[in-house]
């Protein structure tokens, strides 16, 4: 096996290296480090737990009908709540100020950033980010946002390294997805196709297996007659939509005859809304009247097992972990591992392991552009030891960097460089690292690693930041590029006044973080 530099490992499988962490990876070796990461113990994460309990987010609003003026620093309190405690925030008849109704999304965003920086289970955090984008929901929509803590906790994190078929059902039954892709209101008659279509196109088989431009009838799809169609067409979407009718949310909706669903925010199945007649999906006959949930579950079985799903998910995982255009050999190997382990409880972990231990992983140069979440977390892990999250930082990301859980399109955020390197996006990146380095949002002071001797000269300071942020040797070209920005020649001592010296140091940290090397992983 080729050896992989520890910096590469931590840039791709973690949100960047912390000081000293590379040595830990080298001591254990990649295989052992990875094996430990792929079996995380969520109860053993003291730094993340401390950061989560110390975090305070400011909430401010004026008095209104039924509520008092509020201006307070609030601890994260939504993350462990059951649906019954969250769902009332969506009830327009109850007296909640608007910011209260939006609050759960802020807490999940804060927790995501805190864990990305402080959790020792970095592979799980990277995979949680991957799956949140794969199974994207739009948390700015109120009903989705109030259920986001559940979605993050019980769906995405619970299954991030587990079995894909089980994951799919958890997503299909989640309030956040039922609201976002409208299956909540789908019922027999003319079903709502939104969820069924994205289940095929985005969640499982993928658009390469969408053959609607080629075939009008299901039996014309190659392999369909033998029950193994190569892909899907709109007729499969129509039928799958029928299969999921009645899968809904206990949101208090009326069922007729004076009966209503409870308003618990939990999954519900309404037999009266389900289209019980026979169906055909992916070349398979569904008999009529199969009993509660059976039709939808059978669709999930079929799409989870389809070879196109293995290829689609393998490609996306390789794109995330290796390169925008990953080598075909690697994708093929990952797809084989995916399919062979499709009944394994740790299917996803096994695929991640196969990708990471491949020669292609070791050979790929750093070419992935860090998205804003990765940029923030990477900077903080290297250079902000006491990093916390504030509403200022969340708003900065909301305003144009990467609004967490706020991507309206069901694709999630793009995972390729072109989406993050337009002029406006570049400008936001530069503002983001400068704001972090200068602690503009109160997220914590940037500092060289504990034990680093204070740099005596401007050049020494620029080099110390490079060693910290790059987790590698300094580059003379970067040193030469950044020093004029603070108006100091290489050998000039830093200002004696500690405040002025701090300004120079923080500005240099920002400049080093603007270097292309820090922005690629």
């Amino acid at each position: 096996m080729m050896t992989v530099p520890s910096t590469t490992v931590l840039n791709r499988l973690a949100f960047g290296p912390r000081p000293g962490e590379g040595a830990e990876v080298e001591r254990l070796g990649l295989e052992r480090w990875l094996a430990r990461q792929l079996a995380p113990d969520p109860h053993d994460d003291p730094h993340a737990a401390a950061a989560l309990s110390a975090c305070r987010l400011r909430i401010t609003y004026d008095a209104g009908e039924g509520w008092a003026k509020t201006d307070e620093d609030r601890p994260l309190a939504s993350l462990d709540k059951p649906p019954e405690a969250l769902w009332p925030l969506n009830d327009g008849k109850l007296p909640f100020a608007g910011p209260e109704r939006q609050w759960p999304r802020n807490e999940v965003a804060a927790a995501t950033l805190l864990r990305a920086v402080h959790s020792q289970w970095q592979v799980r955090e990277v995979m949680a980010d991957f799956w949140h984008n794969h199974f994207n929901v739009y948390g700015v929509e109120r009903a989705v946002g109030v259920l986001l803590p559940l979605y993050d906790r019980d769906v995405i994190r619970a299954h991030a390294l587990g079995n894909f078929r089980a994951f799919l059902e958890a997503v299909a039954c989640s309030g956040a997805m039922l609201v976002y892709l409208n299956n909540r209101t789908s019922r027999a008659g003319i079903a709502n196709e939104n969820y069924a279509r994205e289940l095929f196109e985005l969640h499982t088989l993928g658009r390469d297996a969408y053959l609607n431009a080629l075939y009008n009838r299901w039996r014309d799809v190659p392999g369909a007659a033998a029950g193994k169609p190569a892909g899907y067409i709109d007729q499969d979407v129509y039928e799958a939509a029928r299969a999921f009718t009645g899968w809904t949310l206990a949101d208090g909706a009326g069922l007729g005859g004076g009966v209503s669903l409870p308003a618990t925010g939990r999954f519900a199945y309404v037999e009266n809304w389900h289209d019980n007649y026979q169906k055909r999906v992916l070349g398979q006959e569904f008999d009529p009247f199969q009993g509660p949930l059976a039709d939808g579950r059978r669709v999930l079985d079929l799409v989870a097992d389809h070879p196109a799903t293995a290829r689609h998910l393998a490609f996306k995982l390789c794109r995330r972990l290796v390169a925008d255009d990953p080598p075909k050999r690697l994708v093929d190997a990952a797809a084989r591992t995916w399919a062979e382990n499709r009944r394994a409880p740790d299917q996803i972990a096994r695929v991640v392991r196969a990708i990471v231990l491949s020669p292609e992983f070791a050979a790929a140069p750093p070419s992935k552009v860090r998205r804003p979440l990765e940029l923030v977390a990477g900077f903080a892990r290297a250079a902000v030891p006491d990093f916390t999250v504030t509403m200022g930082l969340i708003r900065e990301l909301d305003g144009g960097g990467q609004r967490l859980f706020g991507q309206p399109a069901p694709t999630g955020y793009p995972d390729t460089a072109d989406a993050w390197t337009g002029a406006a996006a570049m400008r936001r990146r530069w503002a983001l690292v400068m704001g972090l380095a200068e602690n503009r949002w109160g997220t914590g002071a940037a500092a060289l690693p504990a034990g680093t001797p204070p740099p005596a000269t401007a050049q020494a300071a620029a080099e110390a930041w490079q060693r910290t942020l790059f987790a590698g040797p300094p580059d003379p070209a970067v040193t030469a590029a950044v020093l004029p920005g603070v108006g100091l020649a290489p050998g000039v001592p830093l200002p004696a006044d500690p405040h002025k010296a701090g300004e120079v140091l923080h500005r240099l940290a920002a400049y080093v973080a603007m270097a292309p090397r820090f922005n690629l992983r």
């Binding site: 409208n182 209101t185 609607n212 337009g422 503002a431 920005g485």
Partner: protein, 419 residues
């Protein structure tokens, strides 16, 4: 001297110098230049992301198949409170086509013959996927098999074709990143807004550091950094300020235009401001989302139509001195299903409607109306495509330009757009 020897830029410079903003003769000559082949024309694309229910924007309001397929609140009606706005047309004289009641600004533009409506437009491919359909429409191809062979977008090929020069950038997107249609144009600039200027944070010293950090970087990221710094600086240098480095002067729209603070309003304001900075912009792109209405469509669609119509009308009024050489094309990846679903929404369909707005268009409805009877629908469910979206874009660009932009397209331009 031929008309074509006048470029819009020289005309506008002359017009500004003389203090003449809306002289009819200037408009006439500029139009002749723009019409000579389309190559001098500036395109503004407004892309409605999500698949707009255009059967509910320009509606065959009295078509019995339309009436039967949708509950009253899911369609435009011919009478009562909230009836659709009648429009005169000769495309399908037997059908009472009406604009959505929230599209009053568009009805006015249509009556003044500044707006042409082309129904039943779209891609020939059978996809109902947002992402495949958008890809096809942005790369400028007909079939999915052509996507992998087409790494660039049609808008990038248009800006690469010979045309009037300028300080650049030639292509801009009012967004944080450029759309796939501009893939391949490394100088295309994406900007969210201009009101705070575009200089990098940290002043000129930081700008110099950024230049040095990206100057010799061979990676695509390094190139992107250089392109961003260059494009941002060019535009920033032209933004009006009372003193150098000071705040950007507020934008003063012309013609009584009022832009609302909506996605369409903000985007078109940014485009108008860029056009007036006289940099040689040949294509501007504005994305407008919110059209994927599978559920609870009536209020959502009404708000979207209202915002879009008002923004287009504001832009038209604000840019009247460019009308001769400016065309705004409104398009969407597909229209929606004729029959509504039981969530008070509509699912993905096939043909949509394109709008072309500008001082030079001849107005009216163009193309061919295929009808809504089941046998007339695509696969029995969706409005059929009778006009390839590239026919409309070819008519806007002019046939010579269109041939280089759509090399595989042999259908020719839609006739009648320019009278």
């Amino acid at each position: 001297m031929t008309h074509a020897a006048f470029s819009r830029r020289t005309l506008m410079r002359g017009g500004l110098a003389a203090g003449l903003l809306t002289v009819p003769g200037v408009r006439h000559v500029a139009y002749a230049a723009g019409g000579a082949g389309g190559q001098d024309r500036t395109l503004v694309v407004v892309f409605l992301r999500g698949g707009a229910d255009t059967l509910n924007l320009v509606a065959p309001a009295d078509d019995p198949d339309y009436v039967a397929a949708r509950a009253p609140d899911m369609r435009v009606s011919t009478g009562g409170a909230g009836a659709g706005l009648p429009i005169a047309q000769r495309l399908a004289p037997a059908v009472d086509f009406r604009l959505h009641p929230e599209a009053a600004p568009l009805a006015d533009l249509y009556t003044a013959r500044h707006l042409t409506i082309i129904p039943a437009t779209g891609i020939p491919d059978g996809t109902r996927s947002h992402f495949v359909a958008q890809d096809l429409m942005e790369r400028g191809v007909a079939a999915e098999a052509d996507l992998s062979r087409t790494p660039t977008g049609w808008a990038a090929r248009w800006t690469a074709a010979p045309g009037p020069g300028g300080a650049g950038p030639l292509a801009v997107a009012a967004a944080s990143s450029t759309p796939a249609a501009l893939a391949g144009d490394g100088a295309a600039l994406a900007v969210n807004g201009l009101q705070y200027g575009l200089a990098p944070p940290g002043g000129p010293r930081t700008a110099a550091v950024l230049q040095a950090l990206h100057a010799n970087d061979p990676t695509p990221y390094g190139r992107a950094g250089r392109a961003a710094l260059d494009g941002l600086a060019r535009v920033d240098a032209r933004l009006p300020r009372a003193q150098p480095g000071g705040p950007v002067e507020p934008y003063a729209a012309e013609g009584g235009a009022v832009y609302e603070d909506t996605e369409a309003g903000r985007g078109l304001l940014t485009v108008a401001r860029l056009l007036k900075m006289d940099m040689g912009v040949r294509l501007a792109w504005v994305d407008v989302g919110g059209w994927d209405t599978h559920e609870n469509q009536p209020p959502r669609f009404a708000a979207a139509v209202r915002q879009l119509s008002r923004a287009l009308a504001a832009f038209h009024a604000d840019t009247s001195r460019f009308h001769g050489s400016l065309a705004v094309v409104v398009m969407t990846e597909f229209g929606r299903r004729l029959r509504s679903n039981r969530s008070q929404g509509t699912d993905h369909g096939h043909a949509g409607t394109m709008l072309v707005l500008g001082g030079g268009v001849d107005g009216g409805m163009l193309g061919r109306w295929p009808g809504l009877a089941t046998a007339q629908l695509d696969r029995g469910v969706d409005l059929a495509v009778t006009t390839d979206y590239r026919a409309v874009l070819s008519a806007v660009m002019g046939p010579a330009a269109a041939r280089s932009v759509f090399p595989g397209y042999g259908g020719g331009p839609l006739p009648g757009l320019w009278g």
